[in-house]
Symmetry: C2
Subunit: 416 residues, 2 copies
């Protein structure tokens, strides 16, 4: 009998964790991804703010899976899925499957204002991060060269839209870049004059965290001189700046961290989805009516015990990937299926800046230096590959000691 073919689309946290769980199984596994690297997305904002290099938070998928001879990696772009013929269509051929795992993640959502993307880029992959890094660093260069004071101020104004973890981390990191790392680098401007504005339509920062931690994060942002504007959505974004409610703010650099939308997998699958594009799945993460198709991570709408959607964070995707691998192994071996998926929440963390973070473990809530140390520890230990761990640790130590931030390179073509 031919070995069953398992196709995994997407090598993010979910897909990779499924692939790891299937290493050595009696099946031929193919991982398809548009990019050749797995990205440690929680640290991507540090690439965008010139704290880390891309190679420090990304690893080639092939390298990660090199020791799993039954796992094949295909660098290609998925165009569609044929559920009847059980094939995945990529750019120049069709890949047949017996079991399918869809873990394609999410992308930015501009809530219908797609034209804003070119002026307010979001942060999902390394090219995004390098582009934002170029914009931020070029803004300081333009400010240094500017002659009119209002132009200079516009170049020194940075707006981050959305105060979830990514927005808070971005705003904090830009503030540290301007107020600390760059402070001696310019002659005509003082980078400390930079204004960093964090805009949030809701009533508080980090809305998914308990209120006491939102307040702690708010205080940390104040200490970093980040201006926080709550309760009013952005009504306009253009090349000159943003409009918040009816207040106009001239700003050369705008970063979008306000919303994500599941990738187009629901459409490929012709499946039911929620307002954020997430595919509705059953308790074993399979597509209803299709027990051999699984959807997980940010692409899926999975519910917790109380019927609330699970958050779009790495631990959910990783646990789901491991679950699907376990389930498939049981099925291939003719063993009973494991009980329905249940997310074990070990706590959530968000960082604001140097020695400032918040941590929510349910039974205990932390903020300040202790939360930050914990955050650093957790992120370093989760980074894939010993080399990365070591280099990131050294980089952090070095930045911490010298207040110098490496990787401040402006590369690529200037799209501004």
């Amino acid at each position: 009998m031919a070995r069953p073919r398992i196709v995994i689309i997407g090598a993010g946290f979910g897909g990779l964790s499924a692939a790891h769980g299937l290493a050595g199984a009696a099946a031929d596994v193919t991982v398809i991804d548009r990019r050749n690297y797995h990205l440690f997305q929680p640290l991507l904002y540090q690439v965008a703010t010139a704290g880390l290099s891309p190679a420090q938070i990304a690893q080639p998928i092939r390298s990660i899976l090199r020791r799993a001879p039954n796992v094949n990696v295909l660098l290609d772009k998925v165009l569609g899925i044929d559920k009847e013929r059980r094939t995945v269509t990529v750019e120049d051929r069709e890949v047949p499957y017996d079991y399918l795992v869809v873990a394609t993640g999410a992308r930015h959502s501009y809530f219908g204002h797609d034209a804003w993307e070119s002026v307010a880029p979001g942060l999902k992959n390394i090219d995004d991060a390098i582009g934002i890094r170029r914009r931020i660093l070029m803004a300081f260069e333009h400010a240094e060269a500017a002659t009119a004071p209002e132009q200079r101020q516009r170049f020194l104004t940075f707006v981050v839209i959305g105060a979830g973890p990514t927005g808070v981390e971005m705003a904090g990191a830009i503030a540290e870049l301007a107020h600390v790392a760059l402070r001696h680098d310019f002659r005509s401007i003082n980078p400390r004059d930079a204004r960093i504005v964090l805009v949030e339509a809701g009533p508080r920062v980090l809305p998914a965290f308990p209120e006491v931690l939102s307040e702690a994060a708010r205080r940390s942002l104040d200490r970093l001189h980040v201006e926080v504007r709550l309760g009013t959505p952005v009504s306009q974004c253009d090349g000159e700046g943003v409009t918040i409610g009816d207040h106009r703010l001239q700003a050369a650099t705008v970063v979008w961290a306000a919303g994500v939308m599941a990738s187009g997998a629901a459409q490929w699958l012709g499946a039911d989805k929620d307002g954020a594009g997430r595919v509705k799945i059953g308790p074993d993460l399979s597509l209803p009516g299709h027990p051999k198709i699984f959807v997980l991570g940010d692409t899926a709408l999975a519910l917790d015990g109380d019927g609330r959607p699970l958050p779009g964070v790495a631990p959910v995707a990783k646990q789901q990937g491991a679950y699907v691998a376990r389930l498939l192994r049981a099925r291939l071996a003719g063993l009973p299926a494991p009980p329905p998926f249940r997310y074990r929440n070990f706590g959530t963390l968000a960082t604001i800046g140097r020695r400032a973070a918040v941590a929510d473990f349910g039974w205990i809530k932390l903020d300040g230096t202790l939360a930050w140390l914990l955050w650093g520890l957790v992120h370093i230990s989760f980074l894939i590959g010993f080399r990365n761990r070591l280099v990131v640790m050294l980089d952090w130590l070095w930045s911490y000691v010298t207040f110098q931030s490496g990787a401040r390179l402006i590369t690529g073509s200037d799209s501004q």
Copy 2:
């Protein structure tokens, strides 16, 4: 009396060394560069072959010069020089100077075949290196996905044109990538089947080195399974491959390392130049008839004591930059000018691969492991910035121990 204004165009080895030498001098110094980083060009081929990350061999110019308050950095593109009005024209204004130092380096020369540039890119800056890295890594991906054997072989064939130090280093590094670093990463292809062909029109590799070292380099290339083709120039380069003399070679990846041409400074200055575009300068590196304009590094044609042109290498540029700074300091202080510039050759080095290099000190010639250790030592110790030195050293150690090469990321848009 107003402080004299010194403008330095270019922050390569020459320009930066002049700026360093003028730190604290009684003059306002402006360094103009199109890019925000100084590049340690001798290691650029390692970025192109996925051994190092860009940030490990580049540093922001502002960071390097932050402790020199009389030195100003301007990120801008020079469009021309007006010798009469003594101004440098950049994109949106004019920068006046009293003294001018031109150190704009060199770019690739395709000997009249400019159309070859798009299929056989050269290696001068980080964007070039990232583009070549993408082409090399994508070639393996395409080979893995290819179904026809002749297509697969074409993707696994890499041609490096020109066997000077850069060409030899590139060919050796691609061979190591294919034969060692990637060997476990693929399932359909064996990266060890990759063919790496080094083409040189002249009769030997490393033509600028003594013959005995050319032979040693040739033996090292043989050990790395690099095919060396001497004595025949490339007559055609296109999207499918190259023609060497009348021999056709199908190859998806071609890298140009055959020739450089001085940047357009001679034209800006309306100056005499040689066939390679280098500006003819006097014994004090000044432009004949213009004692306040200096040209140095790869942009200049400087002669040694025997009337032979100095090579386009970093030590020449650095010594020339330091000389011009010394000369200007003397002039500003009303002291006698230093004697004419004289290049002190401390030796030349080229590396072929792991534990293979050649070194020529005139009085002694080395090859093999000892030359390689020396090469590593010299390059690490010359890298600007302690952080880079430490990280590069760790990276090398790590690659050496594990035969793993980091930084294998495919980023940017695919221009193939």
